[in-house]
C-alpha cells in the first residue's frame, strides 16, 4: 500500500507540470490582451502608452519561457502574484473565498451521499416498485436539467413561493440547503443508479446465496455485505465527478450569490486576470489529484483485492 501511494504521489509532478503549462499556453492564445482587459474593466481608456505601461507592470513584456519559469518558481512558494483586478495577493483572495467554496462542495457531497445511498439501495431491494420508478425519474431530472435552471426553480418554488429558504447569500445553515441541493442533484442522479445496479449485481453473487443458506439474516447480508461492496463504484464516481462538482460550484455560486472562489474566477476569466486563472487551475489540479488519490486508497481499504491485483500485475 505504501509503494502504491508513493507511486501515485510521484505521478503528481508531471500532471502538475502539464496542467500549469497547458493553462499558461491557453491563456496566452486568447486574442484579448490582459493589460487592455484590465484597463477596460477599470473604465480607463486603453491608450497605447497605458497598455505598454501595464504590460510592463504585469511582466507581460518578458519572453514567454521567462514568464513561465517565474510563475513556476513563485508557485512553489505559493506565491501566485497579485490580482490585476483587485490589486491584492491572489493567495490572500483564495484564502478569503475558498472556505465558502469548500463548504458548498463538502455539503453537496454529503447531501449527495446521504440521499443517494438510501434511494439507490431501496430501489434495488424493491426493484420495479414505486420507489424504484421515482428514483429513475429523479435520476432523469438530475442528469438532464442544467444546474442554473434547477437553481432558479428551487429558488422560485421553495424560497419565493413557500418562503422556506433564503433566495441567496451565505450566513446560516439554511442558506446552504438550496445551493447544495442544486449542486448535489447531478451527483444524486448518477449515484442512485450506480448503487442500484451495484446492489442488484451483488445480489446475484454466490456469497449472498451461501450467506442465506447459512441462515444469516437478510438485513445483515444486505447492510453488511452487499451494500459495502456495492458502494465501491460510487466512491470511484465521486473521485471522477470532482471536476463536474467544481464546474458546478462556479454556476451555483453565481445563481445563489454564494461568496466563493468560483465567482471570483468567472470575473477573472472575463478580465483576463492571469494570476487568478493560473492559481485556480493549479488548485483544481491539486484537488483532482488529491481526490483521486484518496478514492484509490479508500477503495483499497474497502476491497483489498485491488491492492492484491496491483501487486500480481506488477
Amino acid at each position: 500500500m505504501f509503494s502504491f501511494t508513493l507511486k501515485r504521489l510521484l505521478a503528481v509532478i508531471p500532471i502538475f507540470f502539464f496542467a500549469t503549462l497547458l493553462s499558461f499556453i491557453l491563456i496566452r492564445l486568447s486574442p484579448v490582451d490582459p493589460a487592455e482587459a484590465y484597463l477596460v474593466a477599470a473604465h480607463i481608456h486603453p491608450t497605447d502608452e497605458l497598455i505598454a505601461q501595464k504590460r510592463h507592470e504585469f511582466g507581460l513584456d518578458r519572453p514567454l519561457p521567462v514568464q513561465y519559469a517565474q510563475f513556476l518558481i513563485k508557485m512553489c512558494r505559493l506565491d501566485f502574484g497579485t490580482s490585476y483586478l483587485s490589486n491584492e495577493p491572489v493567495w490572500q483572495e483564495v484564502q478569503r473565498r475558498m472556505p465558502a467554496t469548500l463548504q458548498l462542495a463538502f455539503s453537496s457531497i454529503c447531501m449527495a451521499v446521504l440521499i443517494s445511498i438510501p434511494i439507490g439501495f431501496f430501489s434495488a431491494l424493491y426493484k420495479n416498485s414505486v420507489i424504484d420508478h421515482l428514483s429513475r425519474l429523479l435520476a432523469f431530472f438530475g442528469a438532464s436539467m442544467p444546474q442554473f435552471w434547477l437553481g432558479y426553480l428551487l429558488i422560485y418554488f421553495l424560497s419565493v413561493k413557500l418562503d422556506l429558504f433564503p433566495v441567496q447569500g451565505r450566513g446560516t445553515i439554511v442558506h446552504l440547503v438550496l445551493p447544495s441541493l442544486t449542486l448535489a442533484m447531478g451527483l444524486i442522479a448518477i449515484y442512485t443508479r450506480l448503487l442500484r445496479s451495484g446492489v442488484l449485481e451483488q445480489m446475484q453473487e454466490p456469497y449472498v446465496l451461501y450467506a442465506r443458506t447459512r441462515g444469516i439474516r437478510e438485513k445483515v447480508i444486505m447492510g453488511k455485505h452487499v451494500l459495502k461492496i456495492a458502494v465501491s463504484p460510487m466512491i470511484t464516481g465521486l473521485g471522477m465527478n470532482m471536476g463536474k462538482l467544481l464546474a458546478g460550484t462556479i454556476i451555483v455560486e453565481e445563481v445563489f450569490s454564494w461568496p466563493g472562489f468560483g465567482r471570483f474566477f468567472i470575473e477573472a476569466i472575463f478580465n483576463r486576470d492571469i494570476p487568478v486563472i493560473q492559481c485556480y487551475v493549479f488548485l483544481s489540479a491539486c484537488l483532482f489529484i488529491v481526490c483521486n488519490l484518496i478514492v484509490d486508497v479508500l477503495q483499497m481499504m474497502i476491497d483489498p483485492r485491488i491492492s492484491l491485483k496491483g501487486r500480481t500485475g506488477h
Binding site: P31, V32, D33, E36, A37, Y38, V40, A41, A42, H43, I44, H45, P46, T47, D48, E49, L50, Q53, L85, S86, N87, R96, R97, P99, A100, L102, Q103, F106, S107, C110, L114, Y152, I155, Y156, S159, V160, D163, P166, V167, Q168, G169, R170, G171, T172, I173, H175, L176, E254, V255, F256, S257, P259, R263, F264, E267, F270, R272
Partner: protein, 530 residues
C-alpha cells in the same frame, strides 16, 4: 452512521456563522428605516482615487466632489461654496464650504483638498482620460478655505470633470497611507458624504448608515444595505420575495424581467431620462462606406422605430439626435433621417452599387457590397439589433456579416480601426457632450479614425479644439451646433436609441429619483414605510 452525521453537522455548522448576514433591525431591537438594494459586484476597497474593483455607486455615497452636476448639465456648488475662473481660463479658485467635517470629525479644508490632489497627480497617467488632469499645472492651498488650481491652458470642461465620481473626490486624513499614495490602498473609507460604511463582508453585502456629521440634508433612511447579487434573475427573485426593496441601474435585469415586473402591477417601475445614445459607427475608411450616399442608404434602409421597439420592448427610445437634448449645448435642430427603402435603393444605385440580375447582393466593379458589423456578444441588445440590421439591409442588397466579440476585443478592434461597422455609446453625464466631441477629434479611441474620410474633417477637428478652449459661452454653443450638425449630415455615426436607467421598487418605497450624474446615486431621498 450517527457519528458520521454528527461529524458532518459539526463541520457544516463550523463553517457557518450568524455573522454572515447583516443584523436585522428587529434583532437589534430598533425600529429603523432600512432600504435594501443589490449590486452585481462587490463594492471594493472604497478608495476614492482608483477605479476597479471599487464601485462607482458606493464611492459616490461616501465621497463628494467640489462641484455637483445637476439636471440639464447645471453645475452647482457642493464642497466648494463658490469659485472664480480667471479671464484667461487658466486659474480656478475655489472657496470651500465652511464647517464641513469628514465622518470621523476631522475638518475638511484646503490642506486636505491639496493632499488629495497630490495623491491623484502621483499617478496622473492613470487619469489621463480626464482632459483637465492632462493640463493641470499646479495646485495650492491658499488659506484654510481657499484652494487654487492652475492649468497650463484653458479647458472649459474642468468643472464638469471635477464633478465625476472618481478620482477627484476627497478622502479624510485618517484614510491616507503613511506615504500619502492612495494608489496603494486606503486605511479606512473616510469621506464627507451622507453615508458611512458601517459593515461590510466581501462579496456578500455592504451596509451604510447615515453620517451624523453630514453638512447637508440627512438621508431619509437610517440604513442602506447593498447586497451583492451577481445574477440578474436571482436579483428579480430576491426582489419578488421582498429581500430587496429596489432594483436600480442599467442592464441589471433582463428586459423581459422588467416588463414582467411592470405588467404584474404589484410594483412601481420607472425609466430615467436618456443617459446616453446607442450609436452605430460607420467606418469611412472602408471603401464603400467612404461614400456619403452609401451611408445615407444604410440609414434609410432600416426601420429604426420598429427595431428599437422590438428589441428593447420600449425600454429604450428611438434616437434621432446623436446626443440627447437633455445634455448642455445639444438642443439643435436637425432633420431626422427616416425609414425609406426606395430612397435607400436609389442612393445605392447613384453610388454605383447595382443589383445584378439574379443576385441578391449589389456589386460595383465586380465587388459585392459586403460589410462586417462587430458587436459585444454578452450584451443583450446589440446582438438582436445586429441581426435585425442584417435582415433589413439584405432587402436593399447589402450583405452584412455580424461578428460577436468579447468587450475587450470589440474595443481593441475599434481602436485599431479594424472594423466596418460597430456599436458605440457615448459616456453620459457629466462627461458629455465634451468627451464625445473630444473623441471625434482625438485619434486612438476609434471614432476619429472612423471619421477620417468625411469631408472637412480637419475643420471639424479645429472646431472641437476651439470649443474646448473657448471661454465664450455663445461661441461655444455655436461651435457645438456646427460640430453636431456636421456629424449628423455626414451620417457616419448613426443614432439608434436613447439608453435609460431603470428602477423597480415596492410600493412602500418613496422618494425614488434618478441621479443627474450617470455614475452617482440618489439614495438620500429614498424613504420606506415599514
Amino acid at each position: 452512521m450517527t457519528a458520521i452525521i454528527l461529524f458532518i453537522s459539526t463541520a457544516l455548522l463550523g463553517c457557518t456563522s450568524q455573522e454572515g448576514a447583516p443584523a436585522s433591525d428587529e434583532q437589534a431591537g430598533e425600529a429603523k428605516k432600512t432600504i435594501t438594494i443589490s449590486w452585481p459586484r462587490d463594492i471594493g476597497p472604497m478608495n476614492p482615487h482608483v477605479y476597479n474593483p471599487s464601485q462607482l455607486i458606493a464611492q459616490s455615497m461616501i465621497y463628494e466632489p467640489l462641484v455637483n452636476y445637476t439636471e440639464g448639465g447645471k453645475l452647482e456648488p457642493h464642497l466648494a461654496e463658490s469659485w472664480t475662473i480667471s479671464p484667461d481660463g487658466k486659474e480656478y479658485t475655489f472657496k470651500l464650504r465652511q464647517n464641513v467635517t469628514f465622518s470621523d470629525g476631522t475638518p475638511f479644508n484646503a490642506a486636505i483638498v491639496k493632499k488629495n490632489f497630490d495623491s491623484i497627480m502621483m499617478h496622473a497617467d492613470n487619469h489621463s482620460w480626464l482632459g483637465f488632469i492632462g493640463v493641470l499645472d499646479k495646485t495650492a492651498a491658499v488659506d484654510e478655505s481657499t484652494f487654487k488650481m492652475t492649468l497650463k491652458q484653458p479647458y472649459y470642461p474642468t468643472l464638469q470633470e471635477l464633478s465625476v465620481v472618481r478620482p477627484v473626490r476627497f478622502l479624510g486624513e485618517a484614510g491616507f497611507p503613511d506615504d500619502g499614495d492612495t494608489a496603494k490602498g486606503v486605511k479606512q473609507p473616510v469621506g464627507t458624504g451622507p453615508w458611512m460604511l458601517s459593515d461590510y463582508k466581501t462579496d456578500e453585502y455592504a451596509e451604510f448608515t447615515r453620517n451624523p456629521k453630514y453638512w447637508g440634508d440627512q438621508p431619509k433612511a437610517d440604513k442602506l444595505v447593498i447586497k451583492i447579487i451577481p445574477d440578474g434573475d436571482t436579483r428579480v427573485l430576491a426582489f419578488e420575495k421582498g429581500d430587496l426593496d429596489l432594483i436600480y441601474g442599467e442592464g441589471v435585469i433582463s428586459l423581459d424581467a422588467y416588463k414582467q415586473l411592470e405588467a404584474s402591477g404589484d410594483y412601481e417601475t420607472r425609466l430615467s431620462e436618456p443617459v446616453a445614445t446607442r450609436q452605430l459607427v460607420l467606418n469611412t475608411t472602408n471603401e464603400a462606406l467612404s461614400d456619403l450616399k452609401v451611408r445615407l442608404a444604410l440609414q434609410h434602409g432600416f426601420n429604426k422605430q420598429a427595431m428599437v421597439d422590438g428589441v428593447t420592448s420600449g425600454f429604450e427610445e428611438k434616437a434621432d439626435n446623436l446626443l440627447s437634448t437633455n445634455f448642455p449645448y445639444t438642443d439643435i435642430s436637425i432633420k431626422p433621417v427616416g425609414y425609406d427603402v426606395e430612397q435607400a435603393k436609389a442612393y445605392l444605385d447613384e453610388a454605383g452599387w447595382i443589383l445584378p440580375a439574379g443576385k441578391t447582393v449589389r456589386e460595383k466593379d465586380g465587388k459585392p457590397l459586403e460589410l462586417e458589423l462587430i458587436y459585444e456578444k454578452a450584451e443583450q441588445i446589440q446582438k438582436p439589433m445586429a441581426e435585425t440590421l442584417q435582415a433589413e439591409w439584405a432587402a436593399i442588397g447589402v450583405k452584412l456579416n455580424i461578428t460577436g466579440l468579447e468587450l475587450t476585443e470589440q474595443i481593441k478592434r475599434f481602436r485599431a480601426n479594424d472594423f466596418d461597422l460597430n456599436f458605440f455609446s457615448n459616456y453620459g453625464a457629466p462627461y458629455d457632450p465634451h468627451s464625445f466631441i473630444q473623441i471625434v477629434a482625438k485619434k486612438g479611441f476609434g471614432i476619429a479614425d472612423a471619421l477620417a474620410n468625411i469631408p472637412g474633417k480637419q475643420e471639424l477637428d479645429q472646431q472641437v479644439h476651439d470649443a474646448l478652449l473657448s471661454t465664450d459661452e455663445t461661441k461655444r454653443q455655436q461651435l457645438y451646433g456646427s460640430i453636431l450638425t456636421t456629424l449628423h449630415e455626414q451620417a457616419a455615426i448613426v443614432p439608434i436609441s436613447y439608453v435609460k436607467k431603470m428602477v423597480v421598487y415596492h410600493k412602500n418605497v418613496s422618494g425614488v429619483e434618478f441621479p443627474a450624474n450617470r455614475d452617482g446615486n440618489a439614495f438620500s431621498s429614498l424613504d420606506i414605510q415599514p
